[in-house]
């Protein structure tokens, strides 16, 4: 039992920390892929940047994306790395995570706060000019990534497993599964439309970067080996029961945290929504994919996740 405001703060701290991690990783992966394919297929490189802007829609509508690829890449990279105005930048997410942590500091251990605070302060030390140098950019993002993971480690290893911890983990799991679903929803139309005949290595590097973008390449190989078949990748990212960034794993995690948060007698609205979704992912999803309905299924997943979040906010945070 904790204060609603504290639960809210911890939930959002979990979400922003996870979001910062996602953004950092995707920036590193996209930058690498785009550099790799630039000379080979400029269109593909451009698509990667456009996708990234759609996954993290923090850019102002008033600013049309740069026409030159180099310009687009630079603006997107810097915007998503350190622009304090961009609601999806790593800097913005870390700042929000830290603001939330500050507002609920009495619910955290010193280790949690110090790790998060140090990571934030380190990134704060960079500016656009310094980050314009690609090597510096990579170093900065790698340092941020390590810092975020150590903050997550501090949470894992020092926080007591009380209601506060459950809300923090709920936020983290929710953000993770939501972002995976968004990434799949945005990337899928182009991926499934591409003909593999044209350039096989290029075709596979897109699927590989999708898996890497979701920290799942090694995990995929353990199940399917090195061979990248689109249908296998899709099945894996949607339904694998063990990889922490699959949709099924994420929805199940959200459900389990909500189960533990809600008392046995009161099966709250949020548990019912997410419980149904978990069942669909376990028992029904494979058929839908085989029937070619992956996009509409992902839309459904996103809507239900949105309803879950709203129900959690209403019931537990009183917002």
């Amino acid at each position: 039992m904790i204060l609603s405001r504290v639960a809210d703060g911890l939930y959002w701290m979990g979400r922003y920390l996870e979001r910062a991690e996602n953004t950092t990783r995707l920036l590193l992966v996209t930058e690498e892929l785009s550099t790799e394919v630039l000379g080979l297929d400029e269109h593909l490189a451009r698509c990667e940047w456009d996708d990234l802007r759609a996954i993290f829609p923090g850019f102002s509508e008033d600013e049309p994306p740069a026409r030159h690829l180099a310009g687009l890449a630079a603006v997107t990279l810097l915007g998503l790395a350190i622009d304090p105005e961009n609601r999806y930048s790593v800097f913005y997410s870390l700042k929000k995570a830290r603001d939330n942590a500050r507002s609920v500091r009495e619910a955290l251990t010193l280790e949690c706060f110090i790790n998060l605070n140090e990571t934030y302060r380190e990134l704060e030390g960079y500016n656009r000019r310094r980050l314009s140098d690609p090597a510096t950019f990579r170093t900065a993002m790698q340092v941020a990534h390590r810092g975020i993971l150590s903050a997550v480690g501090a949470i894992e290893h020092t926080l007591t497993r009380d209601a506060g911890w459950l809300f923090l983990k709920l936020g983290e799991s929710f953000e993770r599964v939501f972002r995976t679903s968004v990434i799949l929803r945005i990337k899928l139309p182009a991926l499934v439309a591409t003909e593999p005949k044209i350039d096989l290595p290029l075709f596979y590097s897109q699927w590989r970067s999708l898996l890497r973008g979701l920290s799942s390449l090694e995990n995929y190989r353990k199940v399917f080996g090195a061979r990248l078949e689109p249908i296998d990748v899709l099945q894996f990212l949607l339904f694998d029961a063990q990889t922490p960034r699959s949709v099924r794993y994420g929805v199940t995690a959200v459900k389990e945290y909500l189960d533990r948060i809600s008392s046995a007698s009161d099966l709250s609205q949020s548990v019912r929504i997410v419980g149904k979704l978990a069942a669909e992912l376990s028992y029904q999803g494979h058929d839908l994919i085989r029937e070619g309905q992956s996009l509409s299924f992902l839309d459904h997943v996103l809507v239900e996740l949105g309803r879950t979040h709203d129900a959690v906010s209403t019931v537990y945070f009183g917002t």
Binding site: R5, R121, A163
Partner: protein, 478 residues
């Protein structure tokens, strides 16, 4: 090592011959054994530790949400046992009197009827809450936590500068400074029997539990903060964490059926004691300031019914008013029949005609303060002000003379402070913390604030002040 001597005021470390006072001699020889580079390296380490741990305060009037560290100087201030005994006895006497005064002005008003203090002076203060007339707080305690500011005169005598009876802040720095110094200069501690300060949160919790209305039912204590943008937010959060109690904001609390509850994820829970770090005026929009969003509507009613305890009690602010201060020696005599153990600074009251005349004629020698303000705001340092500034201030004072007091400028003692590789004298004050529960306890230590700018008298954190670890030494075994 380079030690610059004080040119005015009492020097805390060196006597008039330039020899270190006995209780500072071991510290000086330890410091002399370090190289300059070593000292600088440790100083960098210490700054980084403050930033990384987020031990910061927020500055008002600058960019929103600007966090600053409270600069820390590693040369500790050392108070020998006999000196501390004087301070402690004087503070207990003073806090006892302040509490008796508050009980009196909200009940029988004997001190006003007996003209120990002019009634109009007390009753006209905005800190005097007539809504609370006739109300006795739980266990008759008004001033659960007091921070009294002390300075030292020319010959080293401790003088009371002011009492803070509302929400005195700074105790978190007392505790964090000790941790920090221990980490960065562990060598210092080997030669000194330094009395610990770390039990403060436990003592504070005991103090709060003492006034709980339902003592038998494991009472719920909370810390009430205005929120993350308040300058002392770090301290609110720190104390809640150290006491292991929830930190709440006004919006977390609600009043139902004459009880206070906090909103939780699974229903509400009754609250018994609120250590509030919000001023009276913002506590309850139904009783005090109507447009306040920080407080809890209906809270004062619950308090009136005795269903919740508030620390410090609402209305306590009138006791630390700067014009009431002028009457403290008489009040101590009146309530306790004793002479004040700690002297204080002579004070001229704007509200007295003769005093005001004296103030206006001697403005270039006086420090003028407004009666209600704290934190060094609204102050005129006569000796350093230009003729034009003094004129402007005087014009403002004429409109409402009762709002001002004036005191001669006290030199303040100086303490060597590490400034850019050298030890230079800087002016200091001392804020001990006093807890009033089943008895009065004075934390053996306190916040030594230091004016880091050369020649400055202003020690407030909001205006360029820093702090030092403050050691109270335990008496040695004979």
């Amino acid at each position: 090592m380079n030690w610059a001597r004080a040119t005015s005021g009492y020097d805390e470390i060196f006597d008039s011959e330039g020899r270190p006072r006995p209780h500072y001699a071991p510290l000086i020889s330890i410091l002399e054994s370090f190289t300059k580079e070593d000292v600088e390296r440790r100083e960098r380490l210490q700054k980084l530790a403050l930033l990384n741990q987020g031990i910061t305060f927020t500055v008002y009037g600058e960019k929103e949400g600007l966090e600053r560290i409270f600069p820390f100087d590693f040369v500790p201030r050392i108070i020998p046992p006999a000196e501390w005994k004087t301070i402690q006895d004087g503070l207990v006497q003073r806090i006892t009197t302040l509490n008796l005064f508050l009980l009196d002005v909200y009940q029988e008003q004997r001190c006003l009827k007996d003209r120990v203090i002019p009634p109009e002076l007390v009753l006209s203060r905005t800190e005097y809450k007539r809504e609370l007339l006739g109300l006795t707080p739980p266990k008759k305690v008004f001033t659960h936590v007091v921070g009294t500011d002390l300075i030292r005169g020319e010959s080293g005598e401790y003088l009371v500068l002011e009492d803070n009876c509302r929400c005195p802040s700074g105790v978190s720095y007392v505790l964090e400074n000790r941790t920090l110094l221990n980490r960065v200069f562990p060598e210092f501690f080997a030669s000194y029997p330094v009395r610990p300060v770390k039990e403060y949160p436990t003592l504070l919790l005991d103090t709060l539990l003492f006034v709980a209305p339902r003592p038998s039912q494991s009472p719920v204590v909370v810390v009430l903060s205005p929120g993350i943008h308040n300058s002392a937010y770090f301290e609110h959060s720190f104390l809640a964490r150290e006491m292991g109690v929830p930190l709440v904001e006004g919006r977390d609390l609600l009043v139902e059926g004459n009880h206070v509850f906090m909103r939780r994820t699974h229903g509400k829970r009754q609250v018994d004691v609120i250590y509030r770090r919000i001023d009276d005026d913002f506590l309850d929009p139904l009783t005090f300031q109507r447009d306040s969003l920080l407080g809890v509507p209906g809270l004062i009613n619950v308090y009136r019914e005795g269903n919740v305890a508030l620390a410090n009690a609402p209305g306590a602010g009138v006791a630390d008013d700067k014009s009431v201060y002028a009457f403290m020696p008489s009040l101590i005599k009146y309530y306790l029949g004793e002479d004040a153990l700690l002297p204080q600074v002579p004070t001229y009251l704007g509200f007295r005609k003769d005093d005001f005349k004296y103030i206006s004629e001697h403005l270039d020698q006086l420090v003028v303060k407004t009666t209600g303000d704290a934190g060094g705001y609204g102050m005129l340092m006569g000796p350093f002000a230009s003729a034009r500034e003094r004129e402007a201030h005087l014009a403002a004072m004429r409109k409402n003379p009762g709002n001002y007091i004036a005191q001669p400028l006290v030199q303040l003692s100086t303490h060597p402070t590490h400034i850019e590789g050298k030890f230079e004298p800087r002016r200091v004050d001392l804020r001990p913390f006093i807890l009033y529960g089943d008895r009065i306890r004075v934390l053996p230590g306190g916040l030594t604030r230091v004016a880091l700018r050369e020649g400055s008298y202003v020690v407030n954190s909001s205006q360029g002040g820093g702090s030092k670890d403050t050691w109270v030494l335990a008496p040695r075994e004979p």
